[in-house]
Symmetry: C2
Subunit: 256 residues, 2 copies
């Protein structure tokens, strides 16, 4: 039975997609069966996994609007090493089409029921907003993983995100937990980073992952080759940090 983790933060550019692609690759490298779901119309997780978002036959749009099943939409991202439920700009249309539908928040959760047995981990990359696509991801998930740049605007946005998580717990998904808070683009020489990091530890305690992702140019270069850092430069600090995160995620979820 898969553990479904929504990787989310409405603050833009904090490393959601980079975390999804590299955590998926790291979990797959430790012989777990992994599915990455791209719920962002930008289609960055799709391109970052080496799949051309402009050449898709089927995508998340078809899944959410019930034009196709999850089995039909899922593809193998060979180079990256895991399965992918791809997305592109069409996903924006799904949001509009679902707005007046009954049970619109549960489309993804229901569609995933048939897949849960086939995977150990399902990761969902969310867009930078608290819209219906993000709500679908939060409704389908067992837990949320929150990438956090250690900077002011990202810290400031955490209160709004926690509010949304609470609203989801009170309505569409009472079992939703916080998987963890991940510090990304971490630069220990910078006092702002250290200040914000200290506040995260104070507020979230154990929920803050010990694994920290450093700022590492290899993580920014890898997507232009459609590869996770693990495949692009396995000795890079970025690839090693995400392997450490995968180890921590596995230990914490106790799936062994």
């Amino acid at each position: 039975m898969a553990r479904v983790v929504a990787v989310t933060n409405q603050k833009g550019g904090v490393g959601k997609t980079t975390t999804c692609v590299n955590l998926a690759a790291s979990l797959a490298a430790t012989r777990r069966r992994v599915l990455l779901i791209d719920m962002d119309p930008q289609g960055n997780a799709t391109m970052g996994s080496g799949i051309d978002k402009n050449a898709l036959q089927l995508s998340g749009y078809d899944l959410l609007t019930k034009r196709a099943t999850a089995q039909e939409v899922c593809i193998r991202a060979e180079a990256a090493g895991y399965d992918l439920l791809p997305a592109n700009g069409d996903l924006t249309a799904a949001e509009v089409e679902l707005l007046n539908e009954i049970g619109r928040e549960h489309r993804l959760r229901i569609a995933l029921n048939s897949l849960r047995e086939e995977y150990d981990y399902i990761l969902i990359d969310c867009p930078p907003s608290l819209n219906l696509l993000t709500v679908n991801a939060l409704s389908a998930a067992d837990s949320v993983l929150i990438p956090m740049q250690c900077e002011y605007y990202a810290l400031e946005g955490l209160a709004a995100l926690m509010n949304t998580v609470e609203q989801i717990q009170e309505t569409v998904n009472p079992a939703l937990e916080i998987e963890g808070i991940l510090r990304t683009m971490y630069d220990p020489r910078n006092s702002l980073t250290l200040d914000v990091s200290a506040q995260l530890n104070e507020y979230f305690g154990e929920k803050v992952y010990k694994a920290v992702i450093p700022r590492n140019v290899r993580l920014a270069e890898a997507p232009s080759y459609g590869l996770p850092a693990l495949k692009y430069d396995r000795a890079s600090k970025g690839a090693i940090a995400y392997l450490a995160l995968a180890g921590e995620v596995v230990r914490r979820t106790g799936l062994g």
Copy 2:
């Protein structure tokens, strides 16, 4: 008659808010009358201008839903040095309330008509998505200023942004121009930055600003004091770069 510029890019974390706050402060420092409009429910431009988004009497929500006029909502951001039309999470409700209204894309444009004579520049900070709030900003604007991190996902997203601009030009705002493309968080030692920058120059030519914003920690520190970099550390590389941008914007718009 004010020049209205929408600062937009659906890619998250590219420096939209940082550009709005610091360009507004730099234009104001050269004795121009400036209004900054925060159209992002995150309320980052509001907090970055030293105004507590959680203590607002009125905000962009009241303007878009016609509960208040622009004159009533606008406030003076004293420490930052310009006027502000503030925002907070309520703005998300405006989006939902407007969805079925006739002329929903033009609410901001109509509301600004009464203000245009009072300012030389009106800047609009957009959220990281191509939603109704961004469409309102593009409909109200004379031009778009596009902050761009010189990295793969940001470059990849430019095609979708250009499509949206074209759709706006064909429907709600035929006069919309491209004000310019601004390279942000620029690190000349990094070959990825140089590659992407070369592609921008090839594709956009003259539209790419000569002014380039370097990665500079002062720009990330200033918002926690509710100040633009110009007021927080006027000698910093970030503050100087935004002053150079303001000079280029003024020269290009010919407002002298």
